[in-house]
């Protein structure tokens, strides 16, 4: 069942600014659609409007072609998983899963069957008689998933379901949720603030910031073709380097940050101020002797398979450089920072105007 958002806006009476402005999107049947953005961007609000928990101020929401504005949550045929799991502490696991089914006065045998199946699917059969407080965080999360599964709704909404779990469990649950979604053919709308979750799970990603949609695309397209500053900075760790540069000659073919750090353009640029976006792995740091070079190292993080170097250019601008492998480099060491060539160029309204280099061989490798 597809979902269509047409100009969805949310405003509260007492607030001057709307909390969400003109959201348009089309969510395909059976896809995992991630809504991502920093806290306060309105992503949970959007999800709650889709669920019907809060009313839509303006715009139209259609599920499976039917307009759903004003339809109560129970008639939207969807399930929802909350960040806090929203488990009933006085009910055991099986009763928690059965809660909605019982409320709908489903036959007892049917409830039993569905609960058993759902618990089996999330590997909680052994724990069916336990109370939520006797479960670990990951198990509680799975009870919440089982509840969504048991409801048999074809649309599932998840509001930051993994943010209360530790890092390792999060990685594991990410895969489990993705697998469940595929197995059940769910249309899953997943809200998160974590760009890694968006990158690894989504079929399509909606990036929200400043109460507006910034970009809707596949994860790789968002990484490779970020629409603006915000999207470029939000995706990719460590963050992209955004360097302000001036094109001082008309129709220049070169953007210079300083004498060593520059990008050669295929197409000429008009006079003006631009922002050069270079991913940390598209910069090269070369150690130099004495006072030469154009930057000084201020921090080094050796992660094993890669090394993150933070340096300050002589112009005072900080940059991050990622080198493959374990690079021996000291703090306060002088280095020369140069660009490999791939870069994004944003105009003075922070919008992407030119992509330089795009996907390079080291980014996209065909599996053999």
């Amino acid at each position: 069942m597809g979902i269509e958002l047409r100009g969805i806006t949310k405003a509260y009476e007492h607030a001057a600014q709307p909390v969400l402005r003109e959201v348009n999107a089309e969510i395909q049947d059976g896809e995992l659609f991630v809504i991502v953005g920093p806290s306060g961007c309105g992503k949970s609000t959007l999800l709650r409007m889709i669920a019907g928990i809060i009313p839509i101020t303006a715009g139209q929401l259609a599920i499976d072609g039917q307009v759903m504005n004003g339809v109560p949550p129970k008639d939207r045929k969807l399930s929802m998983v909350f960040q806090s799991y929203a488990l009933y502490p006085f009910l055991d696991v099986a009763a928690n899963v059965a809660f909605g089914l019982k409320a709908r006065k489903m036959p007892v045998a049917e409830i039993k069957k569905r609960v058993t199946e759902a618990l089996e699917m999330v590997n909680l059969t052994k724990y069916r008689a336990r109370k939520p407080r006797e479960l670990s965080g990951g198990q509680r999360q799975r009870v919440a998933l089982a509840r969504a599964i048991a409801s048999d709704a074809k649309i599932c909404l998840m509001d930051e379901p993994l943010s209360n779990l530790d890092a390792q469990l999060r990685v594991k649950m990410r895969a489990e949720i993705r697998e469940l979604q595929r197995k059940l053919g769910l249309t899953l709308i997943y809200v998160t603030h974590d760009q890694t979750e968006a990158m690894t799970m989504a079929d399509h990603v909606m990036v929200l910031n400043d109460q507006q949609v910034q970009q809707i695309d596949t994860p790789l397209d968002i990484y490779n073709h970020p629409a603006n500053h915000f999207v470029a900075q939000f995706f990719g760790t460590p963050q992209i380097n955004l360097l302000t540069v001036k094109a001082e000659q008309q129709a220049t073919h070169e953007l210079r940050v300083d004498s060593a750090l520059k990008v050669v353009l295929k197409e000429p640029l008009a006079l003006g101020t631009y922002t050069l976006g270079i991913r940390p792995n598209q910069l090269i740091a070369t150690t130099v002797i004495g006072d030469t070079g154009n930057a000084q190292v201020i921090n080094v993080e050796t992660l094993g398979e890669q090394t993150i170097i933070e340096a300050i250019l002589d112009s005072g601008v900080p940059v991050r450089i990622v080198q493959a492998g374990q690079v021996q480099i000291d703090i306060e060491q002088r280095i020369e920072v140069t660009a490999k060539g791939a870069a994004f160029i944003f105009d003075d309204h922070q919008q992407l105007i030119v992509e330089q280099g795009g996907i390079t061989d080291d980014q996209l490798v065909t599996a053999k």
Binding site: I53, P73, K74, A86, F90, A103, R104
Partner: protein, 321 residues
């Protein structure tokens, strides 16, 4: 002690670093502290033990002691009668009537306090404009003393000038002799007592309602339940520990209602509101029968203890989650 801390010869010798050295001394210090702990424990317990002994334990034992005797006008024990006082008491008709009246009063007060308090809390929990004003009003009976509330309820109950009877006339209902009719007198004291308990009960229930996570209702909305279903299947179970707490507190406190009875009915009319505590007071300090009053006190204490015990046993399982 020291020898046990020494590294055993079979294990490899640990390096003697400053850390291991300090661990050894820390161990000895702990040991010394433990011997002193007992003294400290008694020292800290001392003041409260002293106060409790003088004002609670001694009176309790003394009351029990007196209940085994006949006493003179000054409350001094004269003839030892064993448990005869208890046997006589439980055969006294008017005492059994008091027992019954207390039962009706206590159950009435607790039931209506809980129902009305929960209703007010549920109303105050809604997001309505100006609800803060009502929250304050609902809590305000906490700040009114027993005597003040008894007096103004007396005015309201007044058969000729009271507002309740004026309302009754206005609505073409029969006029009620609130405090002189034995049945209505009980209703009147229950109403007053419920009113007095409401502020505190409201506050506790309101707090409990506020602490139920909002997402539980969101989840139930999505699952397709209406608000009545949510009240019975989410709100009530979630606040059941509070419900239990309020039930115990209200029951015990209404068992001890004294000022209210003294000011409004003085146990009358015809002993209709002569509750157990008030009876103890009258027997001891009006009639000077200290042995009887002591016996009644002990019986009352046992009743309260039993009821509390039963409540805990019965409800502990159901409210514990």
């Amino acid at each position: 002690m020291i020898s046990s801390l020494r590294p055993s010869k079979r294990r490899p010798q640990p390096q003697l670093t400053p850390e291991t050295g300090s661990q050894v001394t820390a161990g000895i210090k702990n040991f010394e502290l433990k011997r002193n702990d007992k003294y400290y424990a008694w020292l800290f317990l001392g003041p409260s033990l002293l106060v409790l002994s003088i004002f609670v334990f001694y009176p309790m034992l003394r009351t029990f002691y007196l209940s085994l005797f006949l006493t003179d006008n000054f409350g001094r024990p004269t003839v030892f009668v064993g448990f005869q006082n208890y046997v006589n008491l439980l055969a006294t008709k008017s005492y059994l009537a008091s027992l019954q009246a207390t039962g009706i009063y206590v159950v009435g007060v607790a039931t209506f306090t809980i129902i009305v308090g929960l209703l007010l809390a549920a109303v105050a929990n809604q997001k309505i404009k100006g609800i803060e004003f009502f929250r304050t009003i609902f809590t305000s009976t906490m700040g009114v003393s027993v005597s003040v509330s008894a007096i103004f309820w007396l005015f309201m109950f007044n058969p000729s000038i009271g507002i309740l009877n004026k309302l009754a006339v206005g609505l073409h209902l029969p006029v009620v002799n609130w405090l002189t009719d034995p049945h209505w007198a009980m209703v009147a004291v229950i109403m007053t007592s419920v009113w007095m308990h409401l502020g505190f009960t409201f506050l506790i229930f309101f707090g409990a309602l506020q602490s139920v996570p909002k997402t539980l209702y969101d989840a139930a909305d999505v699952a397709g339940t209406n608000s009545r279903y949510q009240f019975w299947h989410i709100t009530l179970p979630m606040i059941s520990p509070t419900l239990f707490f309020v039930a115990v507190i209200t029951l015990i406190s209404s068992f001890k209602s004294f000022g209210l009875i003294d000011l409004m009915t003085a146990g009358g009319p015809t002993n209709a509101t002569n509750l157990l505590v008030y009876r103890v007071y009258r027997d001891a300090f009006v009639d000077g029968n200290y042995a009887l009053a002591s016996t009644e006190s002990i019986v009352l204490a046992v009743i309260i203890a039993l009821i509390t015990l039963i409540q805990f046993k019965l409800l502990a399982k159901r409210v514990n989650y």
